[in-house]
């Protein structure tokens, strides 16, 4: 116990190197930040609006990812359909596609002239692009693979016999899932949700392309940062840090509440 906790000395160097590599850019940002402008930015209603919009959409996107992604992960890990390889490939698409192209693809699918979008518009009068719903959609598209891959890993790791035990006790597949499988994979789902939320929060390319950049409805923090970079680079740094601090606080809070690790 005691001694096994320690990391091999040979690995300490790369570990610290990796840490330094990730931390140094942050230090750079912190050094350059005009701290006196933080208050001013925080006071700006547009910034608060964007921050709020970002948090809301990222959270809704994460929920959507959970609702669609967990079942999808289950499908991937539990069936032996012949097409499973294709499904797996489809899931990695949003990972590899540059986000801007992802946004174009979303427009092609859900835009007013899109494959599905044209019917959504004609039949239900629903248009998704350039709305907050569109932001959520773009973020969901980009973030879902992270959730699916994390949850699939968790599903492969659990002892299936617990599910069998539940079945012999009279639980149907749904009950087994809800009361046994889900609690068992909870840590994996949480890790996936964290990745997913962080990715959604930082999403830029697909959002601006698919949902546009309207203050109040689709201008999230990364878009605000983008505009600030155009005209006021210092403000961009302040805004990024603001976003960073908020997200770290949220994630730390989550971890503390739900995992109890550390």
């Amino acid at each position: 116990m005691s001694e096994q906790n320690r990391v091999p000395t040979l690995l300490l160097l790369p570990a610290l190197l990796g840490l330094a590599f990730l931390a140094l850019p942050l230090v750079g940002l912190l050094l350059r930040t005009p701290w006196d402008r933080l208050g001013e930015q925080l006071a700006a209603p547009a910034v608060r609006e964007a921050l709020w919009l970002s948090l809301i959409t990222a959270t809704v996107a994460t929920v959507l990812c959970l609702l669609l992604g967990v079942p999808l992960a289950l499908l991937l890990s539990r069936t032996r359909l012949p097409g499973i390889r294709l499904i797996r490939a489809v899931i990695t698409v949003p990972l590899v596609l540059p986000p801007v192209v992802g946004g174009v693809a979303l427009l092609l699918a859900f835009g007013r002239n899109g494959v599905l979008g044209r019917y959504l518009d004609a039949w239900f009068g629903i248009t998704l692009p350039f709305t907050s719903a569109g932001v959520v959609l773009a973020e969901t598209f980009v973030a879902m693979p992270f959730l699916v891959i994390a949850v699939e890993g968790a599903l492969r790791g659990i002892d299936r016999r617990y599910e069998e035990a539940a079945a012999t006790l009279g639980a149907g597949r749904w009950t087994v899932f809800r009361r046994v499988t889900l609690p068992m994979i909870a840590p994996g789902v949480l890790a996936g949700a964290v990745l997913c939320w962080a990715r959604a929060l930082g999403e830029f390319g697909a959002t601006i392309t698919f949902a546009g950049n309207f203050p109040g409805t689709t201008r999230t923090m990364p878009l605000t940062v983008y505009l600030a970079l155009e005209t006021d680079p210092q403000a961009a740094t302040v805004l990024s840090l603001l976003m960073l601090v908020v997200s770290v606080l949220v994630l730390a809070g989550l971890r503390h509440r739900w995992v109890g690790v550390q």
Partner: protein, 341 residues
């Protein structure tokens, strides 16, 4: 709620074939070495492993095509598989909630009380000792009032002291239980204490069945003989003499033909020189292993045939036994049981 089944199942290269009938309120023990197919048999009955032939009928109702949840079968796994994210009470309540029973909490608490764990209702399974976990697993299975109860080595994970105690408890609960019970075990004592009938599986097929007492006294394979601690041989009997593969034994039976012969190690006498006297069987042997037990010592001897003897510690000293010592073994013909193959 009789269980009537012919379990034919395949698991990789392995093939199980086990016809089985267990009446309501009766317990059938399945014994066998590792990999004999005991767990596979239980999983097949429970609907967790597909039947590749044969049938399963519970209380007259064919259940072959039903899913595990609809078979009304209670399965207690060797390592219990309690749900660690639920409290002890919720573990017991699980089956009731799944079946949308009423008064779930009361019923679960009642069963927890029956197994003597009412005080542990709010604990997590990992905070229980092995014996307590075993009782919770049993309560979890029994609370749903299954038609058939399947126990996979229910006592294997317990220490010896707890095992004796839980075995006695289990006996009480099985006595109250009105369904059919299938009990998988490695320990013949479990079978003796708990079962009405015993089936011995080896390599997926039945090698012996009968009441525990019958099986214990008339083993038909070396595995069963080791299990019950008897010397067992196979040979052909003619004119009161059984000719074995190596050596022969004089017996009291008048039958003829292929037989099994068995006698307990305690029936074997050991002498430093050829004794004169009544024992009809007397042959030279060499000590290969000495194993002290409580009170007695078991000595394994090579000869024609090989044999095991139980003697007192005093005798060991007197004969100054050690591996390699040459002795004469005697067995009275009246101590030897013979029975047809």
């Amino acid at each position: 709620m009789t269980l009537d089944a012919n379990l034919v199942a395949v698991q990789g290269d392995f093939r199980l074939s086990l016809p089985l009938t267990v009446d309501s309120g009766r317990t059938c023990a399945i014994l066998g070495p590792n990999g004999a197919g005991k767990s596979t048999a239980l999983r097949t009955v429970a609907g967790l492993h597909p039947l590749s032939g044969g049938h399963i009928t519970i209380a007259g109702r064919p259940v072959d095509r039903l899913s595990a949840r609809d078979r009304r079968v209670g399965l207690v796994f060797q390592d219990y598989l309690l749900f660690d994210h639920l409290t002890v009470l919720e573990n017991v309540a699980f089956g009731l909630r799944a079946r949308r029973a009423s008064d779930v909490r009361d019923k679960a608490l009642h069963w927890l009380d029956r197994v003597g764990l009412a005080d542990y209702a709010d604990r997590r399974p990992r905070q229980l000792s092995g014996g307590q976990a075993q009782r919770v697993a049993l309560a979890r299975a029994l609370v749903t009032e299954p038609d058939v109860l399947l126990l996979d080595e229910p006592l294997a994970a317990l220490d010896v002291a707890a095992r004796a105690h839980v075995r006695a408890e289990l006996r009480g609960w099985l006595a109250d239980y009105t369904g059919a019970t299938l009990l998988v075990t490695h320990d013949p004592l479990d079978a003796m204490v708990l079962a009405d009938e015993m089936v011995v599986l080896e390599g997926g097929v039945v090698v012996q069945r009968g009441t525990p007492a019958e099986v214990a006294t008339h083993p038909r394979t070396p595995y069963v003989a080791t299990l019950v601690g008897l010397n067992l041989y196979r040979g052909s009997l003619a004119a009161g003499v059984v000719t074995l593969e190596s050596g022969s034994l004089t017996v009291t039976s008048g039958e003829e033909g292929e037989v099994l012969v068995a006698f307990p190690p305690s029936a074997v006498g050991l002498y430093p020189a050829r004794p004169e006297g009544s024992p009809r069987n007397c042959w030279p042997v060499t000590v290969s292993e000495i194993e002290p037990h409580t009170g007695t010592v078991r000595v394994r001897l090579t000869g024609s045939p090989d044999v095991q003897a139980d003697i007192t510690t005093a005798a060991v000293a007197e004969l100054s036994l050690s591996p390699g010592t040459r002795l004469w073994a005697t067995v009275k013909a009246t101590e030897i049981r013979t029975y047809p193959v």
